[in-house]
């Protein structure tokens, strides 16, 4: 660690090329280019162990993006307000979770998303209902961004029967068939093949079932997962079969207490994309507009059938790994630096400076969200706990074991069975 400290004072690298006035190059936004800044990082002999050497380590202000008049802004007013509302919802909801946890209403493992909201809002707000999102245990905000009602998520966290999974999943297992949130997985890396499978389904529907399907899938996971075997297996297969998936790495530098730089031979995760034949992009994950621009391109690629993309979002979690994590290993200076780049503050500033919204409108949104979250808590509080009979329900979709139908007879005896119209 002493080594890392000594390079704190090195001149920080200039920010990675952002969306400012950039034409989409054939090599795709921000991906490898001969003159890219990557070379300066890796060739530097002290780079690898320094957290100060992150490519967008400078407090890159979103306002840098605004060099042109209003006509060239990255979002319209409606979009801006929608994104802002989503950012606030994510933050307020997670803060409420922390409160509820310490009051004993929530229990077990709870992993909060504070600080990373730009990634969720930046990506998920561009999706349609039919698109799928697969996440890890840090999934509350992904579910909220995708459209799962705050009430349903809060009830699920309280373990009540009105939760999105009727209290059976919990914090780490958010599923919603309606909103195509496919989990919520506790094992890191587990969601990546599942997401690849969901993308496989889109392609299968198009090619085999001849349906019109351009649904894409987003797989969210962290920097620790980028060292896991399943990740590489899926990068390979997704590129091989050109699946409509975007692998979104939320690189918050820490896997519980394991620094990304201590765990990874080459810490630049985006580079792993080209190694498997897909574009790899690095983006400032504290800036929702930058994320959104990259997301637009990646999602567009996937929808057009051009295959997967690996997007590394440099982001940070303001809280510990989970509510049980004392968070002692992280440097307070690092935390302060990232707190100064709070995505919500940045975006608020952007909206106001570009006259997309007034203070009053934003305050109104914040107030509305406060009410939504408080209502969610009240709803969850008042909801009943699952009944005892719920323990044995839903182990199987077909509990009596295929052979026997609800009328007590063997299903295969049903005359409609061969026509495929029998109730299975």
């Amino acid at each position: 660690m002493a080594f890392a400290r000594s390079i704190h004072h090195l001149h920080p690298l200039p920010p990675v090329s952002n969306t400012r006035g950039l034409k989409p190059s054939p090599l795709f936004l921000g991906s490898i280019r001969p003159d890219s800044h990557t070379h300066t990082i890796t060739r530097s002999s002290v780079s690898v162990s320094s957290s100060a050497q992150r490519r967008s380590a400078v407090a890159a202000n979103v306002s840098d993006v605004k060099t042109k008049p209003a006509a060239n802004l990255l979002v319209t007013k409606e979009e801006g307000l929608e994104v802002y509302e989503d950012l606030i919802l994510g933050r307020v909801f997670e803060d409420m979770c922390a409160q509820m946890y310490y009051r004993g209403k929530m229990f077990g493992f709870v992993h909060l998303y504070n600080g990373q909201e730009a990634v969720s809002s930046g990506f998920i707000k561009l999706l349609k209902q039919g698109d799928s999102v697969v996440s890890t245990y840090r999934d509350h905000v992904h579910a909220l961004s995708k459209g799962v009602p705050a009430r349903a998520v809060m009830s699920e966290l309280f373990g009540k029967t009105t939760g999105c999974c009727r209290g059976q999943g919990g914090s780490m297992h958010m599923f919603s068939a309606e909103h195509n949130v496919l989990g919520g997985f506790a094992f890191i890396g587990e969601g990546i093949p599942v997401a690849t499978g969901a993308a496989f389904t889109s392609k299968y529907k198009r090619e085999v079932l001849k349906e019109d399907c351009d649904d894409v899938t987003l797989a969210f996971f962290g920097d620790g997962t980028a060292n896991n075997g399943q990740f590489f297996e899926c990068l390979n297969m997704a590129a091989l079969w050109k699946l409509p998936i975007i692998f979104v790495v939320e690189n918050n530098l820490w896997a519980i207490g394991m620094s990304h730089l201590r765990a990874t031979s080459d810490p630049e995760i985006w580079k792993k994309g080209p190694a498997f034949g897909m574009p790899g992009v690095h983006v400032d994950g504290m800036d929702v507009l930058k994320v959104r621009e990259v997301a637009k391109e990646a999602i567009g690629r996937a929808r057009r059938g051009e295959g997967p993309t690996l997007v590394e979002c440099e982001t940070y979690r303001f809280r510990g790994h989970s509510l049980a994590d004392p968070d002692e290993l992280r440097d307070p200076d690092e935390k302060a630096r990232y707190a100064a780049r709070d995505p919500i503050t940045q975006f608020k500033k952007y909206l106001i400076e570009n006259k997309l919204a007034s203070e009053a409108e934003l305050k109104a949104i914040e107030k509305k969200i406060d009410e939504v979250v408080e209502d969610a808590v009240e709803f969850a509080d008042e909801s009943p706990a699952p009944s005892r009979s719920q323990l044995l329900e839903n182990v199987f979709a077909d509990p009596r074991g295929f052979g026997i139908g609800p009328d007590g007879r063997y299903r295969c005896e049903d005359p409609k069975f061969t026509e495929g119209t029998a109730q299975v």
Binding site: A186, T201, A397
Partner: protein, 376 residues
């Protein structure tokens, strides 16, 4: 035509009615003919599985096969022979060597309504993907409270073959059989293979389908009902392959054949054995097993897997819980030896149950002269 081969209906409905309803019970044709030469069509297990896959893929475009060597190589054990030509590479998908990856891909696609049949070249390799079989397949319907079911089949050869060594010879029945949310099937004959695989593919839940490499080439007679494309066997029902009154022998997969041969030997010594082909490890057909034990009062369980925490242990516990008063002798478990599988042929022979072991165990259970110290 509905080819459900119904057997032991009485036993399935409750212990009290077992043995009474001979009128209702339609004796399965296959087991009667089994011991006699006949003009009935014979089919290998391999062809049975292939035809089942073929028919299910033809009937439902959502069904697809994925695994290593399933396409151009025609299947590592030729189970998927001809399917690539018929259905194309989008439905018969050759994968890289990425069990965790493609098992997960199968699960993800099943979340969205496709019906994958994931082949593990052997179930030993499923250990690389067991996270997906259990955590994202078996548990998902429960965790999502019924929103997302997973109609996936994981199939492949299970258990020992011949001389393939310790890492290719393990039986996974007990491991998968202990997980709620999975259905675990273990076919023996061609009819079992066809009926159970079709049932598995049509089932809306994850099914682990444990085949046996040495059975692939074995021929069994198949009835006309079994050849029908709508033929399905119910999941969770065992089959009484041979009726008897002195002792019950439960077995699954290849051991059913051994148990039947052991029963013939025992017959000569005046012991009339009832052989139960489990067909399904999860759900386990406790009703049939207990009904049988209540009739015969003695039980020998046979399996190839490791003895501790094995299938026999579960069957023994079930019988002790439900039919303790009916037992005239302690339950005997015949299982594989408690060692990783050796390679040398003579050692391997000692590491797995042979027909003589079943015969000896049966005699012990009948208190007939053979001391416990007799080893395989």
């Amino acid at each position: 035509m509905f080819g459900i081969v119904r057997q032991n209906v009485g036993g399935a409905r409750g212990l009290s009615s077992q043995g009474l309803n001979s009128m209702v019970r339609l004796r399965p044709i296959a087991s009667v003919i089994r011991n006699y030469s006949s003009a009935t069509k014979e089919m290998t297990v391999r062809d049975a599985l292939n035809s089942a896959l073929d028919e299910e893929m033809a009937a439902d475009p959502n069904v697809y096969v994925m695994g290593e060597e399933v396409g151009e190589y025609q299947g590592a054990y030729k189970i998927t022979k001809g399917l690539l030509d018929k259905y194309g590479p989008e439905r018969v998908v050759d994968t890289p060597i990425t069990e965790a990856g493609f098992a997960g891909i199968g699960v993800g696609s099943a979340y969205h309504g496709l019906r994958p049949v994931i082949e593990f070249m052997t179930f030993n390799f499923s250990m690389q993907a067991i996270d997906h079989v259990i955590n994202s397949a078996a548990k998902s319907n429960y965790m999502s409270a019924g929103q997302i079911n997973v109609p996936i089949v994981f199939r492949g050869p299970n258990g020992p073959a011949a001389g393939v060594g310790a890492q290719h010879s393990q039986c996974y029945g007990a491991w998968y059989g202990s997980v709620p949310g999975l259905k675990v099937l273990v076919p023996y004959s061609s009819e079992d293979a066809r009926g159970l695989l079709k049932a598995a593919i049509r089932d809306p839940d994850p099914v682990v389908f444990l085949e046996n490499e040495l059975l692939y080439g074995e021929s069994f007679p198949v009835s006309a009902e079994a050849l029908d494309s709508s033929f399905c066997l119910p999941i969770g029902k065992a089959k009484i392959e041979r009726e008897g009154k002195d002792i019950t022998i439960t077995a699954f997969s290849k051991m059913v054949g051994y148990a039947l041969k052991a029963a013939e030997i025992l017959e000569k010594d005046g012991i009339n054995a009832e052989v139960i082909n489990l067909r399904s490890i999860r759900p386990l057909d406790r009703a049939t097993i207990n009904a049988s034990v209540r009739k015969t009062n003695r039980l020998v369980t046979v399996e190839e897997g490791f003895p501790q925490h094995g299938i026999g242990a579960e069957i023994c516990a079930s019988v002790v819980e439900d039919s303790f008063g009916y037992l005239d002798a302690p339950v005997e478990r015949v299982a594989g030896a408690d060692v990783p599988t050796p390679y040398a042929a003579n050692l391997e022979r000692m590491a797995f149950p042979q027909i003589e072991d079943i015969v000896r165990a049966a005699k012990r259970v009948c208190y007939r002269s053979v001391p416990l110290a007799a080893t395989a």
